[in-house]
């Protein structure tokens, strides 16, 4: 079994003259909760698209779930889950229909879908909501369901792109407890967030500035290194140096 869920070296992505991702190298251990931080426009989304097999690097090498990002992107897509606050579930489909759809997309074997759907609904205490439209669910429930759907096929890694953007403190905490559970089950969690208290919930975090990874360590080590008391301050110290403004 491979040691790293993600292992990339000298990854660079250029759009014309613009270097969105500038020679980044890092790895994420299996089962780790890895926080991928950075200001708006630092290059996080571009990097994440490459890691999810949706885009290819201009140069550099890497593997995700053991598959080569340059040549095996279809295998990568089957080994990962993805969720974001902006897009996660179809509002106009019922709860069971969303599970059925994503299970199919992620390639869960046909005969496993039904029993596992039952199991999931039971675990979430959602059995009575099976036929509810997702648009009718409260946000907290929607998020729980979206996350469960993203890991329904037991992926090696789940990518969470600002999963808690705009969410109230109570719901954010419930969500992070689900992340803890997934991580304890061995699923690697790769998460972006603008909430610096959530950076503290990660095993390690990286901070991206102008396309480069400027810092990567445990939250405690980063705070010690920069001699500050919070991740918020670490972030300011690094991100305010940014010259790229778009």
């Amino acid at each position: 079994m491979m040691e790293y869920a993600i292992d990339v070296n000298n990854l660079t992505k250029k759009f014309g003259n613009f270097t969105a991702v500038d020679n980044i190298s890092f790895n994420v251990k299996r089962g780790e909760i890895f926080g991928f931080l950075g200001a708006n426009g630092a290059g996080k989304t571009t990097a994440m698209r490459i890691l999810c097999g949706l885009s290819f690097p201009t140069s550099g090498k890497g593997t995700v779930a053991g598959y080569d990002i340059a040549t095996q992107s279809e295998n990568i897509k089957k080994s990962i889950g993805y969720m974001s606050q902006k897009f996660s579930l179809y509002d106009d489909l019922k709860v069971w229909e969303n599970i059925r759809l994503f299970a199919g997309i992620y390639g869960v074997p046909e005969k496993e879908i039904e029993p596992r759907t039952e199991e999931l609904l039971k675990t979430l205490d959602f059995t009575s909501e099976r036929n509810s439209l997702v648009s009718k669910l409260p946000l907290g429930w929607k998020q729980k369901l979206a996350f469960s759907v993203a890991i329904f096929h037991n992926p090696c890694i789940v990518f969470l792109d600002e999963p808690t953007g705009g969410v109230d403190p109570e719901t954010r905490r419930q969500f992070w407890e689900m992340i803890y559970e997934a991580s304890d089950r061995g699923i690697t969690v790769f998460v972006t967030t603008h909430y610096m208290d959530e950076a503290e919930y990660c095993d390690r975090v990286s901070i991206m500035v102008d396309g480069k990874i400027e810092a990567l360590d445990t939250p405690l080590n980063l705070k010690n290194k920069f001699r500050v008391n919070s991740m918020e301050e670490v972030f300011y110290l690094l991100a305010r140096k940014a010259t790229r403004n778009e």
Binding site: N40, S230, A239, R240
Partner: protein
């Protein structure tokens, strides 16, 4: 005169109650924060106050103008930045500004001093289509457009959601400057550190106001001891703390878990040996002062 007066406002959509008999005032020149979950009714209230929808019951006024009979005066007098990016994506930065200025019968030049600090940051992108701006830039442009006619009251619906910590800080520095210029501001936010920067805040849940006070007043009303705990394994620690009989509530809070206790006579020593017996190391337990976020969590459990 209050900048905003809200009296017994209710609004339902079908069987859903969005606002349930809400009343409060925002004073002239005040920076007032509305804090609540998605679906709490914040946007509905903004839309009633900006005269875009009608309440079922109750009355409200902005700058003394009634939201129903004098809606035209309100529209000339307020700036509104909706939660969703609502500028014209296929128009450039400059075109959007000129458009909103001309709708209000003014020009960018006339009110440039009010928006100068913000506008200078997006001016280099004058010819870029607004849909192609980054999140932080879009917010800055939207704020400029909301300010272009020198409104006396500014409505901001989650202006910093999805915005990174550095841009958020800049955005709030701007709000403090606008407040100094005498503009009254009603803003909503999911960020509790921002709530602490408001003159007063209201917690809203399921269409009802839970409390209204200054941030300091809200913190004072927490009214029970609060502790922060950390140890080597934070994931399992959460469960261990919750299972301790004397603990009432425990939740994650950045690098610590915060917890309240059932009895004020709670002894740290007993708790410490309980955690030690479970094998935890590097345990730290401290009594702390509650933050606005702790207060929100406590009130929203009710």
């Amino acid at each position: 005169m209050s900048a905003i007066e809200i009296n017994n406002i209710s609004k339902t959509y079908g069987t859903t109650t969005a606002l349930d008999n809400i009343s409060f005032n925002v004073k002239e020149g005040e920076l007032f924060g509305l804090i609540g979950a998605d679906g709490a009714g914040k946007t509905t209230l903004f839309r009633i106050l900006t005269t875009l929808i009608l309440a079922d019951k109750g009355s409200a006024s902005v700058n003394g103008f009634d939201v129903i009979s004098q809606y035209k005066s309100i529209r000339n007098d307020v700036g509104y930045m909706p939660g969703r990016f609502s500028l014209y994506g296929d128009m450039t930065v400059k075109e959007n500004l000129d458009f909103f200025a001309s709708v209000f019968g003014t020009t960018l030049e006339q009110n440039r001093d009010l928006i100068e600090d913000i506008y200078c940051q997006i001016e280099p992108f004058n010819n870029r289509r607004s849909a192609k701006l980054s999140g932080g830039m879009k917010q800055k442009l939207a704020l400029c457009c909301a300010l272009i006619h020198k409104p006396s009251v500014l409505f901001l619906d989650e202006p910093t959601t999805g915005v990174d910590p550095v841009s958020r800080k800049e955005f709030w520095e701007m709000l403090h400057k606008l407040k100094k210029k005498g503009i009254s501001i009603l803003t909503s936010t999911p960020y509790m550190d921002e709530a602490g920067q408001c003159d007063r805040i209201a917690f809203i849940k399921q269409g009802k106001i839970l409390t209204i006070d200054t941030p300091a007043g809200i913190i004072d009303s927490f009214g029970e001891p609060l502790f922060a705990v950390s140890a080597n394994n934070m994931h399992t620690l959460l469960k261990a703390v919750r299972e301790y009989p004397e603990v009432k509530n425990c939740y994650t809070f950045g690098e610590y878990h915060h917890f309240t206790v059932r009895d004020v006579k709670f002894k740290k020593a007993g708790f410490l040996s309980y955690l030690g017996s479970l094998g935890y190391e590097n345990i730290s337990i401290n009594q702390i002062t509650a933050t606005v976020e702790d207060c929100y969590l406590k009130l929203s459990e009710l």
